[in-house]
Symmetry: C2
Subunit: 256 residues, 2 copies
DNA sequence: CGGGGATTTGACACATATCAAGAGCGGTGG
DNA sequence: CCACCGCTCTTGATATGTGTCAAATCCCCG
């Protein structure tokens, strides 16, 4: 695995509500995951607050004043940018252990909207407190720099996907990424529920929903997985990777 | 203007070589711009080193060990990612005052290659020294966080461009961005030399070089600017913005 | 002054978008 | 518990934007 910046990778078995029984949403002093959290030191200072977000609700919206960074504790989010000219695009899907909100640091206002795709729990930390703690805790500062760098790289990878891949490669890359992240969190990597619609996948991948649907059907025919509505099973990671490589070879051949 | 994170915006009149006469490439103690530099505090510590990079040379390459962050002092760079499967894409063009290399913080290795598109001068700062200084200088830490956030947002904007804009909009957005940044640096915003080839522009915008060329020709016919090889003049910013808005309206109409 | 890469332009191909219709599924209320 | 409604998804037919291929010109660099 990569020398993960995000050490906090919960292996959630219980539901969000069960968690909340034991951990009231006021602070994280009893957080079961604090030892492993990216921003661990903040727990010691008791500056983190637990929040529940229901499916469909926004954690923050584009234009909101930025104050907090959020760590997804359980659940699933999408972030999207909605520009004044009506352009709307999903920029990411976020699951347990991932940090959301770093787009707001630049000028104290969020550029993105974060919406829960299922009932979720997040940990919120005032960025100003985080900065203070960083000054005293070089390791925390170091991890935060790495975390932001990782977010830069992630966005560059999306740009690479959007700028240079065909529809099939994009969809394969999307599924492989999702599968890998679920597996890292202790879930099966070959069988999972998609929490987002075809339209949201398409928006993320720069494709129309019909193209996503068609590609799913085609992959199913190829035996790369079974898809039934939002449920994926029997995902053949090696097969998907081979599909991507083939497309890459074609590109290389075309160039030669 | 935006509450610029990058306070260091040189108004270069002289050439790179003239600069170097006065400022040997050993350190920045005599840097004319240190007062305004993003990473000002580092100059006080004399940890910054000036480098010259000739046109075509690499500042760093993908896979290189990451140690330094670079501030472009004069000149012009492109950064690009080159993956093992032969995918190659320009991820950005960088001019005076901009910081390059933040993609390497994540795991101590650069993901991108940075190549000078003209003879250039950069200031290099060991990242470890920067981190140490940050711990003592909260304002520097704060600016560095903002700088990285800005880079995150920039990459999101590229993704938005690649995922949702048509060729004409992309080219218009590219020229407007370039024009704005040149203007901020004291150059004319309506007349400038393109330092990159059509192919590099295309790679950055997710288009083929022929499409870039055709779009340039079309814009010229529309009277939005004159283009002669790499020279642009008479750039009509308002006209380009109108072109983008029209495309946006079409999109909105299509959706309704 | 020669040569090779860069650019332009045209003709054509193809991937994906668009438009359209119908089926499936999930939630809601009777 | 069933029936309905709306949203999501699938699939087909067609349109279109951009890629691909090719050739000529241009221009910069040596």
């Amino acid at each position: 695995m990569d020398g993960s910046i995000i050490a906090f990778v919960p292996r959630m078995q219980g539901t969000a509500s069960q968690d909340n029984v034991a951990c009231p949403p006021s602070n994280c002093t009893c957080c079961k995951l604090r030892e492993a959290c990216v921003l661990e030191e903040c727990h010691h200072e008791s500056v983190a607050t637990r929040l529940r977000v229901k499916r469909g609700e926004a954690l923050f919206r584009a234009g909101d004043r930025f104050r907090l960074l959020y760590i997804v504790h359980s659940g699933f989010f999408k972030t999207s940018s909605l520009t004044e000219d009506g352009r709307d695009q999903v920029t990411g899907f976020h699951m347990g252990g991932e940090v959301i909100g770093m787009d707001g640091i630049e000028d104290d206002h969020h550029k993105l909207t974060a919406i829960a795709l299922e009932d979720s729990n997040v940990c919120s930390i005032p960025f100003s407190a985080l900065e203070s703690t960083c000054s005293r805790e070089p390791m925390l500062q170091h991890r935060l720099f790495k975390l932001m760098s990782k977010e830069i790289v992630r966005n560059q990878e999306i740009a690479l996907l959007l700028g240079s891949m065909r529809a099939e490669e994009r969809v394969a890359a999307f599924l492989l990424d999702l599968s890998r992240r679920l597996q890292e969190r202790g879930y099966a990597g070959s069988e999972f529920h998609l929490r987002m619609t075809r339209e949201e996948i398409g928006s993320y991948l720069g494709l129309k929903l019909e193209t996503v649907s068609r590609t799913f059907s085609k992959f199913q025919e190829m035996g790369l997985f079974e898809v039934s509505n939002k449920h994926i099973s029997g995902l053949d990671r090696a097969g998907l990777e081979a599909t991507m490589e083939e497309a890459g070879l074609q590109r290389a051949a075309a160039r030669a």
